[in-house]
C-alpha cells in the first residue's frame, strides 16, 4: 500500500495537500499517525526552552557605537578643521617656506593620508561588524588620529611659527596610524571572508 511521503504530510499540514493525499490520509491510520507526529514535533520545537548568552555582548556593541561616534566627530570636525587650516597655511605661507624638500614631503604624506582614507572607506568600517578586540583596537587608533588632527588644527593659528618639518612629522604620524587602522579592517575582512 502506498503511503504519504513527508512532502505530502508537510503539504497537508500547510493545507496544500493533493486530493489524493487528503483522501488517503483520511482513511489511513498510519499516515494520520505520521501527520500527528509531525504536528507534535513542530509543537515541541516551538516549546524548546529559551537559552541565554553566557556573555553580555552589550558592552562591545556600546563601545563600538561610541567609537564610531568619536570617529565621525573626529573626521567631520577636527579633520575638516585641520584640512582647512593646512590648506590656508599652504596658500598663505608657501612662499616663505625655505626648504622645498619639506614642502614636497608634506605634500607626499598628505597624499598618502588621503589615499589611506579612501582605502578605509572601501572597507566601510561603519557598516561592518568587528570583534570586540578589533573594535577596541580600532577605537584606540581612531582616538590617536583624532588627537593628531587636533594638533594639526591648532597649528593653523600659529602656523607662522610652524615649520613644514613639524607638519610633516605630524602628518607622517597620522599616516602611520591610518596604516595600522586599515590593517585592522583588512585583517578582519579577510578573517570573515567579506
Amino acid at each position: 500500500m502506498m503511503h504519504c511521503t513527508m512532502d505530502d504530510l508537510l503539504a497537508l499540514r500547510a493545507g496544500e495537500g493533493s486530493a489524493w493525499a487528503r483522501e488517503h490520509a483520511a482513511g489511513c491510520a498510519v499516515c494520520r499517525a505520521e501527520l500527528e507526529a509531525l504536528y507534535q514535533r513542530v509543537a515541541q520545537l516551538k516549546a524548546l526552552p529559551a537559552r541565554r548568552p553566557a556573555r553580555d555582548r552589550w558592552p562591545v556593541v556600546r563601545d563600538a557605537v561610541l567609537a564610531e561616534r568619536r570617529l565621525r566627530r573626529g573626521r567631520w570636525g577636527l579633520s575638516g578643521l585641520a584640512a582647512a587650516a593646512a590648506l590656508a597655511g599652504l596658500l598663505v605661507f608657501r612662499p616663505f617656506w625655505s626648504n622645498p624638500i619639506d614642502a614636497a614631503e608634506l605634500a607626499r604624506v598628505k597624499q598618502q593620508s588621503a589615499t589611506l582614507e579612501q582605502q578605509l572607506q572601501r572597507y566601510d568600517p561603519d557598516a561592518r561588524v568587528t570583534s570586540g578586540r578589533s573594535a577596541a583596537l580600532a577605537a584606540v587608533l581612531e582616538d590617536s588620529i583624532a588627537v593628531i588632527d587636533g594638533e594639526l588644527a591648532q597649528l593653523g593659528p600659529i602656523r607662522a611659527q610652524a615649520r613644514p618639518a613639524d607638519l610633516v612629522t605630524l602628518w607622517q604620524q597620522r599616516v602611520d596610524l591610518m596604516e595600522q587602522l586599515v590593517s585592522v579592517h583588512v585583517t578582519r575582512a579577510a578573517y570573515v571572508g567579506l
Binding site: M1, H3, C4, T5, M6, D7, L9, L10, C28, V30, C31, A33, E34, E36, A37, L38, Q40, R41, V42, Q44, L45, K46, A47, L48, P49, A50, R51, R52, P53, A54, R55, R57, W58, V60, V61, R62, A64, V65, E68, D126, A127, V129, S131, G132, V192, G193, L194
Partner: protein, 195 residues
C-alpha cells in the same frame, strides 16, 4: 519559548535619536530571542553570541531606517536571520557535514509512513514523539542549512518563499530541505538519537 516582544513607541523613538539607554533597553528586550534564533540555527553558543553582537550593531546603526511598519521584532529578526545565514554561507568547513547528510538521507523522503509502519528501532508507534531532550539533540544533529530551514519555517513562521529569498535559493530547495530534515528527525528519534 514565550517572551514578550512588545516595546513602547517612546522607547523606539528615543533609540532612534541615539539615546544609549534606550538602545540598551532594546538590546535587553530582544537579546534572548535573537540569541535563540542564532543558537538553534548555528548550534555553537559562541557563534550565536557573535550573531547577537553583529545583529545589534546593525540595529543600532540603522534604527533610524526602521519606519515602524510591522513589529520591531520582525525587523530585528530579519537582520538576525540574515547574519546567521551569512555565517553559514561563509563557513566552508561545515559543508562536509551537509554532504554527509545528503548521502545519508538519500531517497528517504518518500515512503516515510511505510517506514514508520514497520516500527522504529526503539519499537515506538508511528505517532509517538519521544521526550523533548531527544528532539533537541536530534535537531542539533541536522546540518546548519536544514536547521535553518526547519527553525525559520516551523518555529519562526517564515514562508518557503521568504526562506528561499533569504538563502538565495529556490522555493523547492526550501521545501525539499524541510522534508529531508523531518525525515531525518523522525529517523533519529526512532533510533533514539544514538548517531
Amino acid at each position: 519559548m514565550t517572551i514578550s516582544l512588545a516595546v513602547p513607541d517612546i522607547l523606539v523613538a528615543r533609540a532612534k535619536s541615539g539615546d544609549l539607554e534606550a538602545l540598551e533597553a532594546l538590546y535587553r528586550a530582544f537579546e534572548t530571542p535573537v540569541y535563540n534564533l542564532a543558537l538553534r540555527v548555528l548550534r555553537r553558543p559562541e557563534d550565536a553570541e557573535d550573531v547577537l553582537q553583529e545583529t545589534f550593531l546593525e540595529v543600532v546603526r540603522n534604527i533610524k531606517q526602521y519606519r515602524g511598519e510591522g513589529h520591531l521584532w520582525g525587523w530585528i529578526r530579519q537582520i538576525a536571520t540574515s547574519k546567521a545565514l551569512m555565517r553559514i554561507r561563509h563557513d566552508k568547513v561545515r559543508e562536509t557535514d551537509e554532504l554527509h547528510e545528503e548521502s545519508a538521507v538519500g531517497a528517504g523522503v518518500s515512503g516515510v509512513a511505510a517506514a514508520g509502519a514497520m516500527g522504529g528501532a526503539a519499537g515506538m508507534s508511528p505517532g509517538a514523539v519521544p521526550a523533548r531532550i531527544d528532539l533537541e539533540r536530534a535537531f542539533e544533529q541536522l546540518s546548519e542549512t536544514s536547521r535553518a530551514v526547519v527553525w525559520l519555517h516551523d518555529v519562526e513562521g517564515y514562508t518557503h518563499e521568504e526562506i528561499a529569498e533569504q538563502m538565495g535559493k529556490t522555493v523547492s530547495f526550501s521545501k525539499s530541505q524541510l522534508a529531508r530534515a523531518h525525515v531525518r528527525l523522525r529517523r533519529m528519534l526512532d533510533e533514539g538519537v544514538s548517531r
